[in-house]
Amino acid sequence: MPIQPLLDAGTAAANMAEIKPPYTPQEALIEANRCLFCFDAPCIMACPTGIDIPSFIKKIANGNLTGSARTILTSNVLGASCARVCPTEVLCEGACVVLDLEGDPVKIGRLQRHATDHVYENGIEVLHAPAEKNGRSVAVLGAGPAGLGCAAELAQLGYGVTVFDKKPEGGGLNTYGIAYYKMRPEISIEEVRMIGRLGVEFRYDTAVGRDISVADLERDFDALFLGLGLGGANRLGIPGEDLPEVVDALDFIEWIRTRPLQDVPVGRRVAVLGCGNTAIDAVTQSKRLGADTSTIIYRRGEEDMPAYHFEYDLAKADGAGFLFHTIPLEVLGENGHVKALRLAKTEVRDGKVSVVPGSEWIEPFDLILKAVGQEKQTELFTSLFPGLKLDRKGRVEHDPATMQTSLPKLFVGGDCANGGREVVNAVAEGRKAARGIHAMLGGGSVSGPVQPSRHGASDGAVGSGFNNPIRVPELLAAMSK
């Protein structure tokens, strides 16, 4: 049976409501007053974009919401989406000293949303490009977080910037690939519009290599930025994979973000293959859109899952099922539609997964969502840019300080450079690349962000997490040693 939408509009909207709704002004004030205004604060060091978090929170507490948003957006042009989608538990909030003091960190993400909502809702522009351009231009390939971070910084440095993207809207995964209950696509699209008001030009429905050639770009622009992210889901390599109800989890999420919620088809019995954060997004949203059961199938155990623990908790709270140490061997169909999965138990020895002989069984499913990682676009990149060096994991090689690739006029950032990390890493890398481009084109180095809350820090007031972000799992690992 082909899958169908299962819920009416009202139920779907209620189920997909934001899990972290906006603060009221008073809630924000109370939360902001919990911040200690640390000197040389760990949260800044944990933020890949190096936002001066104590400063922006102090400004909320002081009733200076516009200034607060200015502090945020100056460091991270996607501050509104990062406020919603950042895994703050392993970044700023995980490093917050109030977590040590009270067992509960300052809710930095929600406060960041409070401040950025203020400027978006009131149409206040806090970022500005110079009235006079510097005469140089840069082509940005990909309108995702990395490309936007690069484009916004370049525009503020006086460059003419054109962004090319094959999709009809900008924002990349922020627009098309985030769980709906974390962020609505409109937020991402508003951010793209704000960057457009800095003078950045966007050319949508334009795939590089198909609709415009790299040679043309190299002729028309002084430098190129590559921010094309990752490709489609990895192949499962099992029989039945091409049946119509075997769907890339990111495609399923894109349906949710591009159609009315009541028009999104979903199975009654959903299997999600993989156990990363995308798998969690798929299992929770399929459940919230009306699936009777939605089950994660993962070949390793709970302790090995790549998903963050708070994401795992969310999926459990949503009633998701989990089949650990289980591997799909075949997708079984009937009349051209998915009917079941043939599964087997696995065991892990010395880190290697093997199928337990004789453990096979058949479990009925009508929708299979693949969340087993995305492919690297190695073929595309090497055909577009002959001579571009990739590492053995398929990532584009680059200088981590400037994001310059092996081709001097080509810079890179985001998932295609780092192999797949957070939105906040991508926007930071895009910005870093913009500075690299600026230096390469003779514009000199741009210092900063200079953070008022760190003025007088013994190692200088520049840098923080922008140069070398810390992450809480790494901190915890270091502590346990």
Partner: protein, 436 residues
Amino acid sequence: MADLSINFAGIKSPNPFWVASAPPSNSAYQAHRAFEAGWGGVVWKTIGDPIVNVSSRYSALNLAGERMVGFNNIELISDRAPETNFREIREVKERWPNHAVIASLMVDTRERWHEFVKRSADCGADGIELNFGCPHGMCERGMGSAVGQNPDVAETIVGWVMEAAEIPVIVKLTPNITNVVYAARAAKRAGADAISLINTINSITNVNLDTLTPEPFVAGLSTHGGYCGPAVKPIALNMVQSCAADPEVNLPISGIGGITTWRDAAEFIALGSLSVQVCTAIMHYGFRIVEDMAEGLSDYLDSKGYKSVAEFSGASVQRLSDWKYLDLHYKRVARIDYEKCIGCNLCYIACEDGAHQCIDLVDSAPYGLGPGRVPGKPVPKVREEDCVGCNLCSLVCPVDNCITMTTIETGREKFSWDDYQTRLAAGQMQPIPAHP
């Protein structure tokens, strides 16, 4: 169990907690509620010739989300007729014979003072409080703080009152004066039985930045108000102790000013009060707060071995002296407990920018991962040889008992500024070199 009852200049009260003369003591209804809740006394809202009030009367100072840390009012004395107030005092005393009811009075002429003093005694009040402190409205008519700010005038009027008084008289002092002790001495000279302080402090709490008019807003204008609440406690404690320590005053003191908890009350009593009066905390939370006040004070007195409030009263008065008698050889330094430190480094920046530059940020390597859990994040370390013991770092530290001010035994005998000047004059020592 310690005895909480007091005999305040002849006014007997089951405990030292009195409702101050203010909106909470405006009526018999409120007095009944106060006594039911456990208050020992009520100082009636000031009785005088009936006045007319404005609409919008209070404003507040909020701080970092905390409401009413300071409170301001432009309300005048009782707007009820004197006969109503005196009749209700009689009713309250009939129902609560063992509780203290004190009539607060404010009139102008000698004859009126005589009349009101007499009517207070006639209605059964246990005492009288003279309102020489109200800093708004009434002072424009030559009453309230206009009296309290001029010790000669105050002495004259207390004299009029004493001519007619058959019950104890308390003079309530204004803090809006250069040295409150002079006003207290004037009360003493005129024969008053006790003093109470402080009344409210002249204030403007805030300006509304949209209307540009301060609050409380009255048809486009505001006026200077009277400030009270937790924020004024340090000012009140200073004035209470000054009066308690002055040998010429030597009167029972009813302490007033920001008292909210049993701790506040205990501090006022330690600095020389015998009773304490509360208003803002009642206006914020209601009469019920007295339960914790009485319980907390009683437990505290028991824990310290005091048998009564009277025995404890004034225990800290002699723990203050003039600056010139403080020991210049005493030394304390800040010590950081790295087990408790969370790595906010507020101590560092406070010392570096705000005080005496005695804390370094040092390599965290010897501290393992270090406070704040960030690899390589520098750790604050006090240079004890340079630390002046100012306390600032321990005050800004958000973690209890993380920075401890520790006494350093110098082995040097006590040496005060007074000693220094004496020995210099006697040629027994050279001047101490100035700090570099």
